[in-house]
Symmetry: C2
């Protein structure tokens, strides 16, 4: 049975992992006969956003502890990730990917990637195993890999920032998966487009299917 | 287009709404051509549980504000619920249903139901419209309706408490939906059984399908 490592960035679209993308990634993996383990870095969230008002709250939360809500407690610190134990690595989206796993939301192309995130991505890539990135999380791959084909959908500002990191942004629509065969990188826009939850389910099905098929090539 | 009101109880299985059940309820409704609006009571959570350790955290959180994470900000206070505007009412599970929407987790059959929850349920029931309850949330219906057929799966302690509230507990397995035709009440066990996420998706598909079909009877 093929095993995915899923990396979460908190719990909630505005300051953490996007919940529908994370949940539906899990469902797509299991539906297609594979399995997963959930990871998150044990670090403070950049901030906490009230998801009703959009305003910052005077609180401190931890990325691992909040991600555990989506994982129902079945989660490991990303420091425990060992590439040998997995067939693939996948990152759901949400602002947390750009605020907690890196600081792209604040620094754009000059962003820094969390050290554990970068070493996990490089370890899987060094073994030639597929990496998936949904929604905004492809910015992490643009920063790490530079020259690579990927998509965050159609947003002009974000795609320009991605090009400024040396990557090639490919325009994509609902459910599309952009594949960089050389890097074995799979990306899909999800809620970076104005999407409904049914389209997120299509996207997670499609990206997981493409990643699993790549393992048979 | 048929419209469901979804009532959430926070964000996270141990102190709020179960995230997979909530997300997959949304997906099942949209997949089957219906629509939804998400509600939650604007009240303090009973407590905050660290989902890694299972221990209580010295924090205060609000049920509406945390539920908004699952709803991506598209949520209304339950005080705004008007039964005339909806065709059905549905409650995903998670401990929050038994800690925030009522206090069954602490008082068992002697529990009290949140006043807005009770008035919403009674208003929909008075109009003969279907009510769905997943996982542990059928305890709310047992307390409100008394004599009614429902399921929380197979847990002996919880089913005994349900019988003590005057309801008839029906044993059920993965994906099963127990229907009380007189009350137009639909229940399914979800994570009250030792379930995988694929089985939750089956359960939410099945309960939404049964509720939609009941509207055509």
């Amino acid at each position: 049975m093929k095993k995915f490592a899923i990396v979460l960035a908190g719990c909630g679209v505005f300051d953490g992992a996007e919940i529908h993308e994370a949940t539906l990634t899990m469902l797509s993996i299991k539906k297609q006969g594979a399995d997963y383990v959930v990871f998150a870095p044990d670090i403070p969230q950049y901030h906490v956003i009230n998801h009703v008002t959009g305003e910052e709250m005077p609180e401190k939360r931890n990325v691992l502890v909040e991600s555990a809500r989506i994982a129902r407690g079945n989660i490991k610190p990303l420091s425990d990730f060992i590439a040998d134990d997995f067939d693939a690595l996948i990152f759901p989206g949400g602002f947390g990917a750009a605020k907690n796993l890196c600081d792209f939301a604040f620094k754009g192309p000059d962003c820094t990637i969390n050290a554990e995130v970068e070493s996990s991505v490089r370890a899987i890539a060094d073994q030639g195993k597929p990496i998936g990135a949904l929604c905004i999380s492809p910015v992490i791959m643009a920063k790490i890999f530079g020259e690579v084909d990927l998509t965050i959908g159609q947003d002009p500002g974000t795609s320009e920032a991605i090009e400024n990191m040396g990557a090639n942004h490919v325009m994509a629509g609902h459910g599309d998966v952009v594949v960089d065969k050389e890097r074995n990188l799979f990306t899909t826009p999800c809620y970076m487009l104005d999407a409904a939850i049914v389209q997120i389910a299509d996207s997670t099905d499609n990206i997981v299917k493409a990643m699993l098929e790549s393992m048979n090539d």
